[in-house]
Symmetry: C2
Subunit: 302 residues, 2 copies
């Protein structure tokens, strides 16, 4: 069965009853499961994780807009996290039996529908965007809600769908498609923050490292350990094991070793299977050889 | 949903119509899927792989006996593979949401029922046996069908269920519970069979190696490579990655490296996840963090 995940970010994290109403609208959509939702007061923002088949996901996201747009007014919104809209960002992520291109198609359909139905300007981002200058969420969000009117009328910032002026209360939305993010931390057997920072700089894309790595060095004060904190934005192209090996190599250069690593939240099975294939030097291996996959395949066939 | 796999071995590999009838009886059992079956003419033996919930698996195995016992006569059976019965061996293997102890319980229930219904002596083996001398299939099968009458009346070989005399045509059965087998080969970057044989001897249990490893050195003539061919009988206690590392270390001692490794047939996801955890030094990781598991869990809950 095709499964797409979506992780809409809404600009409301302080009124639980409003968040609950919006999450409820998603949950009430047949064929969709809400896997998680969490609110952050200081960011004044909530993140909802849902999954389902493409048609159900589309219906659920439209139900979310229906509930969120009248309830959230950006003109009176404040919080630490940058945002351009009431429904700020909506990524679609391929999980099972769907391609990235299916997610791009869904992103464009939802974007067109949101623009038409709510009169909200929509930017496409990441894989859904054809425009290299507008693939990056940070670039689109720069200037935030307050700078949106100026941005929308400036050169190169005509939205992909909808009017070239912000929705009065709901601002704009950023809708797109991306790979599942993996939050992955590597703890070093040292308390030297400078080493963690140097390693982070070596491996991250922005300073010359691996294409799909974001990283920073941090200090875990309670354990007196230095940590390389990593976001992997495309584990198929920059696999976890390559990042691990690179960190180990860079750490060795300072006489430091890896104490342990940790996955924060969820990780696709394929990322772990890929690491096993790599270190075990497995050849001619296919996911159909995984016992559980074989069983599920049989279940669905009969 | 609890899933148990069973891999009955029957002493018929030359009459396809008989095998098809027996497989058909299994397939007709509701709640059971036949994942695979294959016959070997020279062994005169067929192996059927089925999976389902415990109750359905029990019904399917009894249906298999119902079809196989009248159709297979060991008095006129010959083949290269050792055997004691028409339905020779029936292992139950825990796959999902079941414990080894559930499989042991099922093995005992099926053994009692087979003995009562068909008047066949049944030996329990592997995890289902309390008797260390009778855990090993090879020990139980020694003497084969032809030596069965003498064996059953000898000291220490009273069957666990049923009469202390062979069934005239169907002999005896060996029923038990075990972990999934992993067939795993490691190809060396050399054609030296002697090196593969020395490594196999170093890693296998029978000659002082790892507890759940069977191994031999073989030559892949068509590729001019030496191979360490491995059966892993309990990947939870002797994990794939430990075997791989040990082979690499032993090979290095002869100036040889690992070219590649290969899984033959199926492997449980947990064996690969375990390898990833090991090499990535993952701590505080749980299977619930695997995205696909989380999704399935949600599907089943609602």
């Amino acid at each position: 069965m095709p499964i797409i995940e979506s992780i809409p970010n809404i600009s409301e994290g302080r009124r639980p009853e409003v968040v609950e109403r919006i999450v409820g609208a998603v949950r009430a959509t047949p064929g969709v499961r809400v896997l998680d939702h969490s609110s952050d007061r200081s960011h004044n923002r909530s993140v909802i994780t849902l999954a389902g088949d493409p048609t159900s996901i589309k219906a659920a996201i439209l139900a979310l807009y229906e509930a969120a747009v009248p309830a959230i007014d950006l003109r009176t919104h404040s919080g630490e996290h940058p945002r351009v809209g009431a429904v700020d960002v909506v990524p679609f992520v391929p999980i099972e039996d769907v391609t990235m291109s299916d997610c791009v198609t869904l992103a464009r359909e939802v974007a067109a529908e949101v623009a038409a139905r709510f009169d909200i300007p929509v930017f496409l981002y990441e894989e859904a965007s054809d425009n290299p200058a507008r693939r990056n969420l940070e670039d689109i969000r720069r200037g935030e809600f307050e700078g949106l009117a100026a941005k929308l009328s400036s050169d190169g910032w005509k939205p992909d769908f909808g009017p070239a002026a912000p929705h009065l209360s709901a601002g704009a939305s950023v809708i797109g498609a991306r790979m599942p993010l993996i939050a992955y931390n590597i703890n070093l057997n040292t308390d030297r923050l400078d080493v963690a920072k140097k390693i982070a700089a070596a491996i991250r894309h922005s300073s010359g490292g691996l294409r799909y790595v974001k990283a920073m060095g941090v200090k875990l004060e309670e354990r007196n350990l230095a940590q390389v904190s990593i976001n992997l934005t495309n584990y198929q192209k920059t696999p976890v094991h390559r990042v691990f090996d690179m960190v180990a190599r860079e750490a060795a250069r300072y006489g430091v070793g890896i104490l342990e690593s940790e996955v924060i939240g969820l990780i696709p099975a394929a990322a772990l299977v890929g690491a096993a294939e790599h270190y075990l030097q497995l050849e001619r291996f296919s996911a159909a050889q995984i016992l559980e996959n074989k069983l599920r395949e049989e279940k669905e066939r009969f």
